[in-house]
Symmetry: D3
Subunit: 238 residues, 6 copies
């Protein structure tokens, strides 16, 4: 089966990571996975949520959202509807957990970093692009803090990157675009550290349930894809 | 490492599945995984959501909630706060997706079944108990429809069951209770069909990221646990 | 007119009061009036609402809710709709006021007890069952506090119980089930102390307005019913 | 015990009922019970709620609200807080039920009348003033419909009026003003038809529970008060 | 073109300003511009919003709302819909800004005055009537504070009044009533100080865009109208 | 007084208008006024709001929002807070009204165009940049419709552009950046057609009220600025 953009099954889309896209944020990145564009802003705050005060520990949180016309047909704004949908909640939580995996809270001190990931254009893989870009924005925000001697230690213990994989037809594919995502029988998002360990594995049978061999094949693809994204992150930060 | 209730690492808690716990619902189950108690009600409706009308296809949806004092300390009601939290959204969506994996929408006809999973008492594993119990309630609701000749075919193509696994200390454990869940470095929820295929795999590094070997070990435990739960579901429905 | 379950007009449905139904709550009761089942949980908190701080006085509050499939046809969740309906508000307020009638706030000290009354199954009289059960849960929570010497005095000055009465056809009936409630022209809920005094009298003409004689007849029935429930509460707590 | 405005215990405050206070509404009344001022507007709509369509029957509904500075200290607006409080819900429901008691839905045809009762100034008894004034506004709206031949029959089968009574110290008092209401140990709101029958009886022990004799004494006062208000309504409508 | 009420193009409707309309508020005014009636209440509070604490400066804020049946057809309540509409927000903000223009925050001390402007009856010009009346209520509230020596200086540096102007057909008109407002091609609201300076100029082309000459003509009308309203305010306060 | 970026008082910031910034929208523009960046997307829908159905007329609406970190310090998301703030409402309404001024609804047919204006980076003048950019996105969306013969006539009757002006110190300035906006005593936003007529004039005295001469001076600046923006829009669309 040929992919619509001519990629090999194990090939990422062209990835670009543009740092300092915003003037105000302590770290900001426009990350592109093919036509998917996510604007990631890292905001440093010299406080932590109420339940963490006095602990000496920092906190990382994330919010994900899509612009109404980031998608093929316009969606209603969640602010206008007055509530956040389940999918948005779920992805915001995933991004937050993923980024927390690379942070030493003690070294961060009682500071928070909020990662806003706003999808400007969507073509599949928005959550994995968001995580991959947010890490770079986070690294820049931490550098900003370091330069001002705002953290007691080195908060970043590793990097994180994420990619989607899925089975379309009989083929396992890396980094699904929207039409592939819709066609996929199984869909998996994998978040990994720069050291090659897993942070999150979320696999879902959209159609036919999958067996252990399929699961293993998808994990192999994802491991290679995350390694490649880790390299791209390093180059962007160099 | 000994488990606080003396279980072996690969042992489920005592599971009870009480059918027909409610008088009104077309299917209802009180499912207990140790001290975790979830009331699952299946409601048959002779309509489908607006976006599915005229398709000839049915729909399955689920809502999960916790009673305020199901937990050790009282939580605020989501109805009083005026919005549903991210965790509730996420679990409701997981239960819905999981149950949809065992249903043939065409055979269901343009009918919906809503699965309400209300946690009366929580001690870890509420989402996996909910899925396991909801399947039985669903089976009873389908039997109720079948007896009234309300579906054009046989809507159930398999069964689904779910279990949690996790790494505590250096040990991989099956079916974590609350204190184990809190202590776990890695936590995974696995949903499988009665045929032994995967529907959902959701693994999260709460503390230290995990390697491929740990992932494989957890999957082995989960596969065995789900098989055991499938047997218990069959016995309950016999 | 014969009642559908064969009861005499002045006869309660079978009442069961099961204490300690929940593991975590300081007091908990599953109360059943016939097929109506309400789970009452009493949660002790060592604080009072902001407006009462520093007064040395305690507080009692209550929240009532129905599970979506407690009723014959499924209702939407109030958490999903994003707001609490008028009926829920009204009953929560009634339960709170009723329970506050048996409490000496000074003897309670600056502590709160929250009474969560969740209807698992509804067949009429859910608010009166909730009050009757919540008193027993409250008594257990107070005993829990007493054992830990958490209150400066004896907070319980009396007990409270509640029952519904109504006129169906020409007959006054005690403890209406759902079909009787729907058919009633006049419907009254009466809350009384163990000493035989009134805490609340709420009578409503659903159809034809009622005269003084009808009101007096209903009050007589309710007085006897509450006395009987008081006895059952004492036996449950013995 | 002397009342602060020199009234006898069984004496109403001065009551004024000003019809046609608003230019747009089909019926409108500014009702005053002493310093309590409620603006009641009756709006005729040629439709009924969805659940009643096609029944040939009409509907009456009511909404109660207080202006922020109707009270001694300013309250927040419910529109700003984004939700309606329990007390507002409860009183809106009471007013609606009370007014429905005087209407023949069939004679009204498939039309609705909405009664908006907005408290401009509050000094106790706002809900009873609202019911008493809303009846007059309703009668004017029905006359408006009758003049246009919009109803198939005569929708008004009786009138309704309401008054508060309560025990302050040892004395039973009619039509409590705010300071009396706050001091009352028992507080009762009674709604009656012009024919002298009860529509609603809502008695609450704010402090000490009350016995049957106290209840009877309060009902006697309320019966006389409602009869007097019925006369005032008739004079206003003459 | 003749105006429906026979006014000259540059003539205000009859304006009445009734002070002390409410018993509880520190300042209150029922202002009428023809059939438009707005109840303005000024509430003094001995605190300021959180962001202003410790500054030694006061604050003025305003809230505008319409009763459901102030208009020709009934509108839904914003409290029932659970959110405030854009128009309400916009007008509340306009009234607050306008009134703040006449206040010296330092002389007010750390006190707030809230201006509630509730439209009891609407016939065009509700926002301009609200501003004009709110100034008088504010002046009374300030006098109340002055009498109690609650402000460190004299908070009122000028007065404010407002009027609407518009082009209907080819004619520029002062103080539009509802039917004129609907027919207007251009609509402008102008807020001015008693000294004749501009506080707000808000002109909108509802239909055909307007040229500089039309703008100048409307401003001339508004300047004269505001001067007249300023005189009426002074007379009311005398 | 020198401007911080060295501009003359009557000079616009560098303006860039990048068309087709998004892949999915029928028209899209990234508009930049100096450091202010607004992404404008025009979405064509083949339906109109309920109240306009069957009229044969189209509709234009707009929604404005700011990304949380578009500003110097992070703001909370309106979707998370569950409601839209007054400022957002006000600006969305302004943009909608402004764009409607250039459209012939009949020629548009029963179609809607939604203009989403999302501020990616804010440095003053976001609403005027949004209007100026949204016109270009609208023109592209109309061209898209024209190419598909989706409108019965030519919907665009003119163009619209907008600019801010204000008095800082004693100087009238064109196109205020954020620090100038904060320092301005008077602030005015002016929306004009390509033909040089006014669509909206919104002037506000933030500090000292302004006289007629100041108003005239600001209007002169705005007229010239809008003419310049109109030229830039034409060049971008050429």
């Amino acid at each position: 089966m040929a992919r619509e953009d001519g990629r090999r099954p194990d090939q990422l889309r062209p990835v670009t990571i543009t740092r300092d896209w915003l003037a105000h944020a302590e770290g900001s990145v426009l990350v592109e996975f093919g036509r998917t564009k996510v604007l990631c802003a890292a905001s440093v705050q010299d406080s932590v949520p109420r339940w963490r005060r006095g602990s000496g520990l920092g906190w990382i949180t994330a919010e994900y959202a899509m612009l109404p016309r980031s998608t093929n047909t316009r969606s209603d704004r969640e602010s206008v509807r007055g509530k956040i949908g389940g999918r948005t909640h779920e992805i915001s939580r995933l991004i937050g957990r993923s980024l927390r995996a690379c942070v030493d809270y003690k070294a961060l001190g009682e500071n928070s970093i909020v990662l806003d990931c706003d999808v400007l254009q969507a073509d599949g893989g928005t959550r994995t692009a968001a995580i991959t870009g947010a890490y770079v924005a986070l690294a820049d925000a931490v550098a900003w803090m370091r330069a001002r001697k705002l953290c007691p230690g080195e908060p970043l213990v590793t990097s994180v990157a994420a990619v989607s994989v899925g089975v379309v037809g009989q083929t396992s594919l890396l980094d699904l675009c929207y039409t592939e995502d819709v066609a996929a029988e199984t869909d998996m998002n994998v978040v990994m550290t720069g050291a090659g360990d897993f942070v999150e594995v979320q696999g879902t049978a959209e159609g036919v349930p999958f067996d252990r061999a399929a699961l293993d094949g998808l994990l192999d693809l994802a491991v290679a894809g995350c390694a490649e994204l880790t390299t791209l992150q390093r180059q962007a930060l160099a």
